[in-house]
Symmetry: C2
DNA sequence: TAAAAAAGTGCAACGACTCAACTTTTCTAT
DNA sequence: ATAGAAAAGTTGAGTCGTTGCACTTTTTTA
């Protein structure tokens, strides 16, 4: 790895670090890209050579979540339904305040800033096509089967739905119950 | 209605008209707010006194869609399930190229411009809470029941899901079938 | 090793949007 | 009816995110 690539990676890291620190400190909207650039001692243009947008400064660690999602569908235990497997995965991934306080502050920041919420949702929803394909593969349906695509879409949407509700865990469970069993008929309610 | 309010409404209408014409003509990103202001013979700042954003210039006719949504749930025919009623409503509202060509061009514009797609979705999703309350009311569940909220969320998401898929009608039907009957068990697939 | 290609950096600019001030219109108290 | 206050419309100057163009630096190629 040449000196050039090392310096590039260092600059990128310095930018991400400075951004995280400043955003947590003052709030996303109270920090300008110029501030971040200055804190990392580069020009504002350089920021956008490393990151496609201001929001992207925060969502740097974004890889192999798609792979995990697909593996959950493909490698689920014998007899477990796809919605159940996805529900367990979603609940497992969901950041309950239990983790370190740094993470808690990060989650609080992203959920309370509209631009970040929206960006996070878009990033998450990018996996819809891949997940739909995995579901189709697992059930033997045609690759672009609309039912599989709908399940993929709604399963991913679940985390967006859980946001802003009081009890996120309960919301996720209710949403997946609907996907698994459908809307209860009038008699059984 | 005084002269003042009339003039205000006239300016607002002139802005919306100019915006629609210019956007359809050149495309959303190829028209600046300044262009719209100039076409309506006001300053750019005035535009933002009438509309909260550039996107809002297009989504002016936005009222009583929520009322219709709630009425669909409340006044559905005896014996018709809520998901079915919402499915019929969604299909009925969906703009198939059948209407006037002006509408077709409008739909094409909003669907091909990312900023407009996103904005349209946000506006549409604003009705989630009201729809969830209507569903809870209709089933006798507590007002903030997570299952009712999930149905409302997913039912609205349906149109977002149908976007970008080849056959929108088929997509909507598949999505509502999932909400109505749940994910088919392994045996019946 | 020179030249050329590629990549990093920065200045200046554009477009969306806001702020503080100014003007005009409407309301209210005499 | 009218002066003065309050409300609302309008504006020019500025901020912030983001991009095009020019320049420097590093790597590759002849």
């Amino acid at each position: 790895m040449g000196r050039r690539e090392r310096k590039k990676a260092a600059t990128r890291q310095a930018l991400a670090d400075a951004a995280l620190r400043l955003f947590l400190d003052r709030g996303f909207d109270q920090v300008s890209v110029r501030d971040v650039a200055e804190a990392a001692d580069v020009s504002t243009t350089t920021v956008f050579k490393h990151f496609p947008s201001k929001e992207a400064l925060l969502f740097d660690l974004d890889s192999d979540r798609e792979a995990a999602l697909i593996a959950v569908v493909r490698d689920r235990p014998e007899g477990m339904s796809i919605p159940t497997a996805l529900r367990e995965h979603t609940l497992r991934m969901h950041p309950d305040g239990a983790g370190d306080p740094e993470m808690a502050r990060f989650v609080e920041l992203t959920e309370s800033t509209p631009a970040l919420r929206e960006y996070g949702r878009r990033m998450w929803m990018r996996h819809e096509a891949a997940l739909a394909a995995a579901v189709a593969e697992a059930t033997g349906a045609p690759e672009d089967d609309p039912g599989c695509a709908a399940l993929a879409h709604f399963a991913l949407e679940t985390v967006s739905f859980a946001r802003g509700r009081g009890d996120a865990r309960q919301a996720i469970e209710a949403a997946f119950a609907l996907l698994e069993h459908g809307w209860p008929a009038a008699g059984q309610r």
